[in-house]
């Protein structure tokens, strides 16, 4: 009946969610749908590739996607963009594997992708989207159904839920309980990938105290990641340095960062 600091009356206490990258990689099983954020969570991807995971459906773009394809982990790509920017118009492994028929493509685009992720997150059987009406997207991806809206009869695409089994992300900081705070904005579509996924692992530059999270609760971008992995500089191997400094290093101010930019 006495009050014990940090413990509940029944003697239990809050469980931390920190695991290592080997355990985190084991969450991804053959055949699952995997979503990968940007900047790429390379510490986690490295272990996935070492484990030789197969037959993944991957929601990703750019070079981390290409690496997973090159490593033979991928059966299907939810693809809105597989290019590498200037000088790399099409990611090479993606291009080769698709042209050889080694991997399937779930053809989409950014708006359709985020719409499908949002449908999953909101437990809706579909969400409508207009971008893509008139294009070949619903022909080459029969999961996108053309329909007439029930109020005005306008032509729209019905996008089904896109639900990753596991989402892997990289961020600046988190506490031991899964509260994640990005420095600057979260990258690309990371928050959509988190909301839609069954489970999310976030590798972070630093694990910070819960009190630091509480000092600015509005800065918490992911409230309740399922696991946190310590991975200082854990995205550096693939990202451009400038992306890295913008998004990942938590302890520098923007003006300090600008030295590196």
């Amino acid at each position: 009946m006495a009050y014990e600091k940090g413990f509940c009356v029944n003697g239990t206490e809050r469980q931390p969610r920190i695991i290592d990258e080997v355990e985190a990689a084991s969450w991804v099983q053959n055949g699952m749908t995997l979503a990968v954020g940007s900047p790429a969570p390379m510490a986690l991807l490295r272990h996935l590739i070492r484990r030789g995971v197969k037959d993944l459906t991957v929601i990703d773009s750019g070079l981390s996607l290409d690496l997973l394809i090159a490593a033979g982990c991928v059966r299907k790509v939810v693809s809105y963009y597989a290019g590498g920017g200037f000088g790399v118009p099409v990611a090479p492994s993606f291009r080769r594997a698709v042209e050889r028929g080694e991997i399937e493509v779930w053809e989409c685009e950014e708006g359709i992708l985020t719409t499908g992720l949002q449908a999953a997150a909101q437990a809706l059987p579909f969400l409508p989207w207009r971008g893509g009406v008139g294009t070949s997207l619903p022909e080459v991806n029969p999961d996108l159904k053309v329909f007439l809206d029930p109020l005005n009869g306008e032509t729209l695409l019905a996008v089904p839920p896109l639900k990753p089994d596991v989402t892997l992300l990289h961020a600046a900081a988190a506490d031991a309980y899964g509260n994640v705070q990005h420095l600057g904005g979260p990258g690309w579509i990371d928050l959509f990938l988190y909301r839609a996924a069954d489970r999310t692992v976030v590798q972070v530059e630093r694990v910070i105290a819960n009190e630091e999270i509480r000092a600015n609760p509005w800065a918490t971008t992911i409230a309740g990641a399922d696991a946190i992995v310590r991975a200082p500089y854990g995205s550096l191997s693939l990202s451009q340095l400038s992306v890295y400094f913008r998004l990942c290093l938590p302890s520098l101010s923007l003006s300090q960062l600008s030295v590196y930019l």
């Binding site: 009356v9 239990t12 949002q118 999270i213």
Partner: protein, 262 residues
């Protein structure tokens, strides 16, 4: 001493016992009994619970106490929060709400736990009593794993055969598949807790059923105050009174100013 408790304290303790560690507890405006309940459960046996007051999400099992009351509109709660989300963004991850628990009131409650926050009167355009509106309860009651109907009074005006309007669908017209039939993913209402008794829903019919009477309340009194025929489980239990431990934690750490005894 354990006999010396208020009805609001009893209701809070009854609710707290039914909440499980690891659950996410969503508390609306102006429900001091519910606020006390979730905080008591959190301190006693729920170190991994998450408490959400108006978008401020917190875990405060490690703190001796917090001000009480009343979170309601009082956004000081953000002082203890780990994250905050505004109304619209609160609905971004409904797929996970099977693990969420919620508490609802109502100006009317029918035998199947459907509730009404819209108003009273046969003609919607000429309401006798205009209620506050549904807030977010239709969405919450659709998606949470289970919810509790919690009322500050127990009268035939509240417990009616038929709600004039339904703002939250509980068990519809009854039957174990009542929610599946209309496609609602959440688990529906589990208990209805009032100052007189605790009611549950019969497994087959999903009709309200007298589960336990608070000490000193008779079955006849409950029936007289309920505007429809109430099933009973036999024998009717007495609501387990607060233990000395429960009251101690409630009064020292959750409600030291005695708000629930006023």
């Amino acid at each position: 001493m354990p006999n010396d408790y208020s009805l609001q304290e009893l209701m809070a303790i009854v609710l707290a016992r039914d909440l499980k560690d690891g659950e996410v507890l969503r508390v609306g405006v102006a429900m001091p009994v519910v606020e006390a309940a979730v905080r008591l459960a959190h301190l006693r046996h729920g170190p991994n619970m998450e408490l959400i007051f108006l978008g401020a999400r917190m875990n405060v099992a490690h703190l001796y106490s917090l001000p009480m009351p009343a979170f309601g509109w009082d956004r000081r709660v953000v002082r203890w929060a780990e994250s905050y989300s505004d109304t619209g963004h609160r609905f971004e991850r409904l797929k996970d709400w099977h693990n969420h628990v919620f508490f609802i009131g109502g100006v009317q409650v029918d035998p199947y736990g459907n509730t009404n926050l819209i108003g009273v009167g046969p003609d919607y355009h000429q309401l006798r009593f205009r209620g506050p509106g549904s807030v977010g309860t239709p969405t919450l009651s659709t998606h949470v794993g289970r919810y509790y109907i919690v009322l500050n009074s127990h009268t035939p005006r509240i417990f009616v055969e038929r709600c004039d309007y339904i703002s939250s669908y509980g068990w519809g017209t009854g039957g174990a598949d009542a929610r599946r039939r209309v496609g609602l993913p959440g688990g529906g209402p589990k208990y209805c807790v009032t100052p007189l008794c605790v009611m549950d829903f019969a497994d087959d019919t999903k009709r309200l059923r007298l589960h336990s009477l608070h000490a000193g309340v008779s079955e006849a009194e409950v029936r007289a105050q309920t505007g429809f025929a109430l099933q009973t489980s036999t024998p009717i239990a007495t609501t387990e009174p607060p233990s000395a431990e429960e009251l101690h934690t409630l009064r020292t750490r959750v409600d030291p100013t005695g708000f629930l005894r006023r």
